[in-house]
């Protein structure tokens, strides 16, 4: 899979309150959440973000609460992938589980706001179109790759549910 998009650059420790403020957590609607994505720290984000755009950030992206509303609002706003030096743990799980691609990359400091990146997941490359530089990233471990390939955690659960209906003792 290949993706091309424009970079929105963020710093270190972007927390889930920065991504979606708690005052909007009284809804679960992806569209509505995406309207308030990054509202506190980048008020223009929701208006200007285009489908396919890419977030590039520093350390510990997504730290803070467990709200899945955070990756949902990012996905809902059209962001195709988040690239960061590192991710907070629960944000990482949530993104895998809902199918928002994440990439860990050490060299994010060389990428600037407005750069256009081309991401090739099949080979694990990020190419910066501004200067032609190519960065390698590690693909997911096999276990997680399986969840993603299945289409997310709920797709696996769906199979399980069907299995139960057929057979009272499924072997999962």
């Amino acid at each position: 899979m290949k993706i091309k998009g424009t970079v929105w650059k963020f710093g270190d420790h972007i927390n889930t309150d920065d991504i979606i403020s708690a005052r909007y957590l009284n809804t679960t609607d992806e569209k509505e959440l995406s309207l308030h994505c990054f509202e506190t720290i980048r008020p223009d984000f929701a208006k200007k973000v285009k489908k396919g755009d890419i977030i590039v950030a520093g350390e510990n992206f997504g730290c803070g609460s467990s709200r899945e509303h955070a990756p949902i609002s990012i996905k809902g706003s059209g962001i195709s992938v988040v690239i960061a030096k590192s991710f907070a743990r629960i944000f990482f799980r949530n993104s895998i589980n809902i199918g928002l691609p994440l990439i860990e990359l050490k060299e994010v400091d060389e990428i600037e706001e407005g750069d256009i990146l081309e991401v090739d997941f099949s080979v694990g490359h990020v190419k910066n179109m501004r200067n032609g530089k190519i960065y390698k990233f590690n693909r997911y471990p096999e276990f997680l790759e399986k969840i993603i390939e299945s289409g997310g955690l709920m797709k696996i659960a769906e199979k399980y549910v069907k299995e139960i209906e057929k057979n009272e003792n499924p072997k999962y």
């Binding site: 309150d17 920065d18 720290i41 803070g64 949902i72 907070a88 629960i90």
Partner: protein
């Protein structure tokens, strides 16, 4: 293996696991609240699931925007209520409930050796009773409600060894703020924090809950404290029924990834300045920080001992005329106990507001939201930008004694300065 690794191995029917292994585990308890529960229920229904794996092991607690602050939050809680009726899972109605992470241990639902997940980052609180408990997302909860299982990556464990003598007014909150200040907000990312040493061995249960509660503020997957005499007495006191089926001790020092030793002799009460919990310093370094609001409550410091400590300093004094002081007993039981002991009377006479048990202002939900430019000191666990209201408001974190002393003086101060 460390305690955390042993609990994970036990629940995946393996003799041994190694850090970095991906495993699937059986879970003993699943928690969701009024923010994360509805999302999990939607996922559950979307794929046509018809039953939960075990209704007794699922708990839904509406505590964030309750008593419901608006129509939207009322709809969310309704979703939990209806799901609980349909599938027979536990649901705690307001008036018989409280903040999830204080309520569940109080109800005897969190027990040693268990594997607990919750769609709330502070689920790590129950490490205090020596369970492996960790925050997950709503999809995780939906999956686990159906299958009774969930995937985990086995974490490394960092051992924190506390020794020395605690100064007066220094407790669990100060130790954890100090520790996070030392390691940073991602100092333990993906890892277990195991709190050990002579100081922890003598630390009361409430302080242990506070420490494990904030393990996530260091990025950790879980915080955990060895099962000992204090845990055992506590569980007896609340009449919890339990049986320990595995050896809850870390085998050897070599099982830790790292050992961090902390001498507590010189630790003063800590205050973390905006906008990170790791910005912690001695309270003496805050010379002239005027405050508008004080919040004493939350899953970190809304327990009965927190209210007792608060009342002890406040008794016979008044809240500063320019300060609003909000006190939130974390559960119905704690509220009643505070009433019985006369604490509520002390708070009311001094000019405090008593809120019903709720998360409320801790996440800027309701019951004390800050306006632009306002400053608060709170016993909560996060001081991120806009956490308690306006993006240009400021939250300082502290223990209850520092918070109430500051409420009396009108600016951040050491409890000594008001007694």
């Amino acid at each position: 293996m460390t305690i955390s690794q042993k609990i994970l191995a036990f629940h995946s029917d393996k003799k041994e696991v190694l850090p970095g292994d991906f495993i699937e585990c059986n879970v003993d308890l699943i928690l969701a609240n009024d923010i994360t529960g509805p999302l999990a229920i939607e996922e559950f229904e979307k794929i046509g699931a018809k039953k939960v794996f075990d209704p007794k092991k699922i708990v839904l607690v509406p505590d964030h925007f309750t008593p419901c602050k608006d129509i939207k939050s009322a709809e969310l809680v309704k979703k939990l209520r209806e799901f609980s009726k349909k599938y027979g899972v536990r649901f705690y109605e307001i008036g018989r409930a409280g903040i999830e992470h204080v309520l569940l241990p109080e109800e005897g639902l969190t027990l040693p050796g268990q594997l607990i997940i919750g769609a709330d980052s502070h689920t790590c609180t129950y490490g205090a009773v020596c369970s492996f408990s960790t925050g997950v997302g709503s999809t995780d909860v939906a999956y686990a409600m159906i299958t009774g299982k969930l995937w985990f990556k086995v974490p490394e464990t960092i051992k924190f060894y506390y020794y020395g003598r605690l100064k007066e007014f220094v407790g669990g909150k100060d130790l954890i703020l100090y520790t996070i200040g030392k390691i940073g907000v991602n100092g333990a990312n993906y890892k277990s924090m195991e709190f050990t040493g002579p100081v922890i061995e003598n630390l009361p249960m409430d302080d242990r809950f506070t420490m494990c509660n904030m393990a996530i503020e260091g990025g950790a997957k879980n915080g955990i404290i060895k099962f000992d005499r204090i845990t055992e007495n506590y569980l007896k006191e609340i009449d919890a029924k339990f049986e320990i089926k595995l050896d809850l001790k870390t085998d050897s020092e070599n099982d830790y990834e790292k050992i961090i030793e902390i001498n507590v002799d010189k630790i003063d009460p800590q205050v973390a300045s905006p906008h990170l919990p790791s910005n912690s310093k001695s309270v003496w370094e805050y010379k002239d920080v005027k405050i508008d609001q004080v919040v004493i409550g939350s899953c970190t410091n809304g327990r009965i001992s927190d209210l007792r400590k608060t009342a002890k300093i406040l008794k016979g004094k008044k809240i500063h005329p320019e300060v609003r002081c909000i006190i939130i007993p974390a559960t119905q039981k704690i509220y009643q106990e505070a009433l019985k002991e006369g604490l509520i009377e002390i708070f009311l006479s001094a000019g405090c507001v008593i809120s019903p048990p709720t998360c409320g202002p801790c996440l800027g939900g309701h019951m004390g939201v800050l306006s632009k430019g306002e400053v608060a000191i709170a016993t909560t666990n996060r001081n991120f930008i806009g956490r308690m209201g306006h993006p240009e408001s400021y939250v300082y974190l502290s223990n209850p004694e520092v918070a109430i002393a500051s409420a009396i003086k009108g600016k951040i101060c050491h409890p000594e300065e008001v007694i």
